[in-house]
Amino acid sequence: MSEQYPALLVIVPLLSALVVSVAGWVNKRWCFPIAVAALSVSAWSSVGLLFRVLNEGVIVYKLGGWSPPMGIAYYIDYLNGLVLPVVSIVALLNLISSKRTVEQQFPDKTGPFYTLYVLMVTGLLGIVVTGDAFNLYVLLEIASLTGYGLLAMGEERAPLATLNYLYMGTIGACFYLLGIGYLYIVTGSLNMVDIARLLPPLYQSKAVLAAFIICMVGVWLKMAFFPLHAWLPNAYTFANSASSSLIAPLVTKVMVYVMIRLMLTIFTPKFVFNTLAVHDAVVWLAVIAIAMGAVLALKERNLKKMLTYIVVAEVGYMVGGAWLGNRAGLTGAVLHIVNDALMTLCVFLVVGNIVYKIKGYAFGDLKGLFAKMPFTMGAFVIGALSIIGVPPTCGFFSKWYLILGAIQAHQYGFMVALLFSSLINVVLFFRVFEIGFYEPFSDHEGHEHHPAVMAEAPLTMLVPLYVVAISLILVGLYTGDIVNHIVQFVIPKGFM
């Protein structure tokens, strides 16, 4: 069965999304178990795939039995072998955690919600696993459309924010499609590996240059890379917490994966860093992205929106790291895809718990939260420390590689930006801690004994949260193994 893992990975969630949809009309209670089972199979096969990749190297799976470039093929190498388990496990954990929220917020629409949820995960997994440039576009649209649906159900302002996201997302996806069209017109192929094989004689072509620029802009739009980030904060803030904690950790990270895939596999580092040689400019863009993300986050008086700006800054980390053009930087960027997905999931799950209990996420709502929800806030502390970059949480190690890459590439601006954003993150999170810890201020040196009223989130929400929080530390401790056994094979040979 293990040779069919690549198909199972995507097909099982797809089929079960359909079953969930039908179950929604028959008996709503079946939806959740089916969805969990489907994503568990996905997670299982993605981990199985990762181990197969570790043992056997690149896996090619021909869909429909047609060999590429005629048909569509999956290529699973170290890069997506690493990203796949992250996507599926993050989605699974969030699904389990958000059960109560979904029942609270959409009592009548659990069926469609879970359908869209599983479809979205299908789309994201498909994006990561596919080896065909056009197939990626189709899956991108699945992920986006379901994402719009999920995000739009929220507060009053959610539909407008989502519609803006839809405009930007469509422009982004269409730019990507157009870029692929440009590649197709000069090479005649749609298969990523095949395009890479055909491209070298065409490196000087204006069409290839334009294709690269258009694809990049499209992908940047989708990942909210500054200054194309304007859609993200509102769309994520006003959405319901079950959706935002799926989409915030995964969508930007998967798009970063697509960017790295474009750079490494389709256009190859030789074109990107030698022929084109604009990486300095992009790194400076990333510097601005990080700085602006941090500063804009500082302005917010609202936990969820603050976190969305941190997501914008983190995108800057990864883009900058990937464009540093050296081993350490790229290692950092790839590692940060994994780490940031987990970190963002952790903090957004916390927001989900808070919203479930307190029904608000403005700073004013957080008073006394350490006493009310000590376990949730404990996990929040771990997530926050990871985002700040405190060892031994995983956030530290990706930052380590990114800074090392910056030093080796003599991009001191990027290094300063990373440190600056870490410091701002300290301010951001400790501001939240302060509100949760001190306010309302205890009178007269706190010698009174306040019996704290605990109102902790249910266990189904806490257990996934703690799984994530502990995995932040575990991933941090096993960074060495991840880098030595996986990430270093991601980077093509001969890369600096």
Binding site: Q4, A7, I11, L14, L15, L18, V19, S21, V22, G24, W25, Y61, K62, L63, G64, G65, W66, P69, M70, G71, I72, P107, D108, K109, P112, F113, T115, L116, L119, G126, D132, F134, N135, V138, L139, E141, I142, L145, T146, Y148, G149, A152, M153, P159, Y184, I185, V186, T187, G188, S189, L190, L198, S205, K206, A207, L209, A210, A211, I213, I214
Partner: protein, 277 residues
């Protein structure tokens, strides 16, 4: 915003025009796109899949995986529209006064809150903004719809040999029901195809496609490799491919048919399912 838009547009346009200079000449038979992959499709399709319409063959077989997700896209659009717009019975406030119309005479009666009409075939429920449908349109459409549907079935079935296929046929089928909803009213259309049926049909359509693929997988072939069906269908692998394509086209047709109606129902009534257009 206008100025920013103009600048962005001009810059993008300039880049695209600049790049177009390096394109192969338009309609050049020697361009890479025409010489690299397409000759294989054109020359081998008949041998490999036994389908004369190359587009259908490539769509449903060589790149069948794309098409499966294309169907999924349309399915998810349907679910999204339902998810966003449909106002559930619990949230929906019943109007204070209900209106019923006697079908034969056209007499309309108004019921205040609390009163209910005994179920009767002679009366139909109508909305406050109800307008009598035009007889000519009503009759014309009633005559037209069967032919539209027949044509749609032809398009699906004949997709192997002529332009068309599951998608186009499905859209036309859906359009015929939408036509019914427009020419009569939404209640009539929903009575013909209930919401639950539509919702299930969408999923079933995609399921036929993906399930066919999964069946191939269970028959020890790769996903969507229709030649695996040869044993089940008792034909040779090439014909099995052709049949496989037909099966998935039917799936596409069902999914598209149902989704188009679903989206229309939700948009035209803003999720209330009362009065359509």
């Amino acid at each position: 915003m206008k100025i920013i838009g103009l600048i962005i547009t001009v810059v993008t346009g300039a880049l695209l025009i600049y790049a177009a200079a390096d394109f192969p000449a338009w309609s050049d038979p020697a361009s890479p796109a025409s010489t690299y992959l397409s000759p294989h499709f054109i020359e081998k399709t008949m041998e490999e899949t036994s389908v004369p319409n190359i587009v259908t063959a490539v769509l449903a077989d060589y790149r069948g995986f794309d098409t499966m997700f294309e169907t999924t896209v349309i399915f998810s659009a349907g679910v999204v529209c339902f998810f966003l717009l449909r106002i559930s019975r619990r949230e929906e406030e019943e109007p204070e006064t209900r209106y019923y119309r006697h079908v034969l005479t056209g007499v309309t009666i108004q019921l205040k809150e609390g009163y209910k009409m005994p179920p009767s075939a002679d009366f139909e429920r109508i909305d406050a903004v109800w307008t009598p449908p035009d007889l000519i349109i009503k009759t014309g459409c009633r005559i037209l719809i069967p032919f539209v549907q027949l044509f749609a079935l032809y398009v699906i079935a004949h997709g192997h040999h002529s332009p068309g296929g599951g998608f186009q046929g499905g859209v036309i089928l859906g359009a015929s029901v939408i036509l019914l909803a427009i020419s009569h009213d939404l209640r009539t259309a929903v009575r013909r195809m209930s919401e639950k049926l539509i919702g299930i049909l969408c999923a079933v359509g995609v399921f036929i496609y993906a399930g066919t693929g999964a069946l191939c997988l269970l028959l020890k072939q790769n996903f969507l490799d229709y030649s695996a069906l040869a044993g089940v269908l008792h034909v040779d692998p090439i014909t099995a491919r052709s049949h496989g394509i037909l099966i998935v086209e039917i799936g596409v047709g069902i999914a598209v048919l149902a989704t188009m109606i679903w989206i229309y129902n939700n948009i035209s009534s803003a999720g209330r399912y009362r009065q359509g257009l």
